[in-house]
Amino acid sequence: MGNEFAITNVWIGVVVVVILFAICYLIGWYSSKMTTSEEDFYAAGFKIGPVTNGLGMAATWASLATFLGVIALIAKLQVPFVYLWIQWAISIPLLTLLYGTSLRRMKAFTPGVFIKARYGKGATLTIACWMILIMIMYALGQMIGLGQAFEMLFGIPYNIALVIAGIATVGYITLGGMYGASYNAAFQMVLMTIAMIVPMGAIMKSMGSSGWWFPPLAYGDMVPAMLKVLPTFFDMKYDIRWYFALIPAFTLGPVALPHLAMRVFTSSSVKNARWAVVWFVLFLGLLFSGTYTSGFAGNYFVATTGKTIAKADQTLLILNVFYNPVWVAAFVMGGALAAGLSTVGGNLMAISGLVGNDLLSIMAPSMDSKTRIKWGFVALAMGGVIAVLLAFKPPKFLVTSILWAFGLLASTATPGILLGVWWKEANKLALIVSANICGLIFIIISPHVFPGIVVGKGISAALGMSGGLVTVPLSFTLFILLSLVFNRMPALKAWAPTLEDKKVIDRIHGWGDYDETRYNGVVWPSVIAVVCLFITIWGLQPWS
C-alpha cells in the first residue's frame, strides 16, 4: 500500500512512536498494580473522576478516523459529512441520560450485565454476540489505521507495519486493564488535541488566514477564497430524509456501544458520571472542530494550489508535510496513533467484558472471579489478534466499516437496552426475535453482502444510513408489538418478564419500593411502535 506522505527522516518517526508507546506501557504497568479485582479490571474500581473520565470518554470516541478517514469523507461529501460528525457528540450524553446512570447505579461492568439481570441468559447471549461482532469490526478499523500509520512513519510494508502495531498495542492494553485504558485514554486525548489543533494553526498561518490563533472556529476569512474555487462546499446537498436517517443509524447506534457505556460505568459516582459528560462535550467539541478545520483546509489546499491529494485519508498529514517541519508532521502522526490506540483500547476492554464477564458467567456460572479475570485477559488479547488478522485485507474506505456497524448495533442492541430500562413489558423472546431478524435484514439490505438487494444507494447505503432507517425503527416496532403479544400468550409464559425482572427496573431508577404501574404503560409504547412503522415505510421509499 503506497502513500503520498512519508517522513523523510525515519528516525524521527521511530522516536515519536517509541516515546508514545513508552508512556502507554508505563501507564499500563502502573495501572496493573492497581488491578486486584474484577471491579478494578472491568470498571477501574468505579473510581475515575469527572475530568479524567471526560478526557477518556472523548478519547475513546475519537477514533483514528478523526485524523484520517473523516477528512477524506469531508473531501468527498463536504459539509453534509460535517453535520454527520457533529451529531456523534450526542451519544454519551444520551446514553448517560437514558440508561448510563441507571446501570452505573447497579454497578454494571458492561451493558450485558443489565441485559442478563433484566432478560436472562438467552437474550444476553444474543446481544453480547452482536456487540462482540461490532466491537471486532470497530477494532479492525483502528488496526487498519494503526498499520497504515506505522507504514507512513517507517516506510515499511503494510503487513509488517500491521503486525508490529498490533503486538505493541494489544500488549499495553492487556497490561493495564480498565485503569490503564482510562488513564491512557486521558493522556492520549490531550496529545491528540494538541496534535490536531496546534500544527493546524501553523498551516492556517501559512495559508494566509488571520484566524491561525484559534483553528477550530477562526478560519472564516478563508471562506471567500474557498467559495471562489469550490462554490459547492457549503451546499447541504441532501433532502430532509438524509438528515433524519442520521438519527437511527448514527445517533441510536452509538448509544449502545459497550465501550462508550463502560466509560460511564467507570465513574466515581452517578453524579460524577453526569459531570464527566460536560467535560466530554467540551473536549470532544474542541477536537472535532479541529477536524472540520482540517477537512476545510484540505479542500482549500486542493482548490487554491491546484495540487491533487490522491489518498484523501492522508490529507492532514500531507498538509503538515507541505507546510510544517518534519518533526511536527511526525508529532501529528503520533496524535493520530493516540486516537487509534485509545479507541482500540476501549474496544478490546469491551470484548473482554462481554466475553470474560457476560458470556462466561452464563457458560461457567461456578467459575471463581480470579479465573474469570484471567479469561478476561485472554479475551482481550484474542480480540486484538483477531482484529490484526482481519486487517491484512482492509476495506477501501477506512471509516466505512465502523459507520456501517453502528446501524447494525442500533438494529440489534439499542431497543433491548432502552426498552429494558424504561418498559416493564419488554419480553425476553421478543428481544431475541426482533434483534436477530432486524440485524440480519440490515446485513442483507446493505450493499456489502448482497449487492443485488440494497435499500438506498451510494454513500448512504454504504454507510448503513438507508438500511438503518428501515431496520432500526422496525426493530423497535417488532420488539414492542411482539412483547405485547408474547406476554399475553400462556404458552410463552416462560419468556414474560417476572416480578424479579420488573423489580430490577424500579431499583436501577433509584426507587426504594416497587410499583407495578411505573414504566408499565401500553399506550405510549404502542404509539412509538406505530410511529416507527411509518418511519420504516418512509425508509423503504426509493432514494434519489
Binding site: I90, P93, L97, G220, V223, V281, D515
Partner: protein, 97 residues
C-alpha cells in the same frame, strides 16, 4: 409525592433527550426552514457555523443543566426514600442488582 417524582423523572428524560437531539442535529433546522440560510457569522454561512456551535457549546450547556437537574432529582429521590424508611440502590450500595 411518589407520583410527582415519577412524572418529574419522565419529563426530565423527555426534555433533555429532545434538547440533546436538537443541539446535535441542528443542521436539520436549516433543511426544514431553508429561508434561515444565507446570513453570515464570523465569516461562515450560518448553516455551517451554527450547527457546529450548537453541537459543541450548545450541547455543553444542555449537559451542564442536565447534570444539575438530574443530580438534584437523585437527591430528591433519596430524601423521599428516607422519609418512607426505604433503602434505595445508590452507587455506594455494596454489590450489584
Amino acid at each position: 409525592m411518589k407520583e410527582k417524582l415519577y412524572k418529574k423523572e419522565i419529563w426530565i428524560t423527555i426534555i433533555f433527550s429532545f434538547l440533546l437531539m436538537l443541539t446535535g442535529h441542528f443542521a436539520s433546522i436549516f433543511v426544514l426552514f431553508p429561508s434561515l440560510k444565507g446570513a453570515m457569522m464570523w465569516g461562515f454561512p450560518i448553516e455551517y457555523i451554527v450547527p457546529i456551535l450548537m453541537g459543541w457549546f450548545g450541547m455543553m450547556v444542555v449537559c451542564f443543566v442536565m447534570a444539575i437537574v438530574c443530580n438534584q432529582f437523585d437527591d430528591d429521590m433519596e430524601a423521599y426514600a428516607k422519609t418512607q424508611g426505604q433503602q434505595v440502590m445508590t452507587d455506594k450500595t455494596k454489590g450489584s442488582v
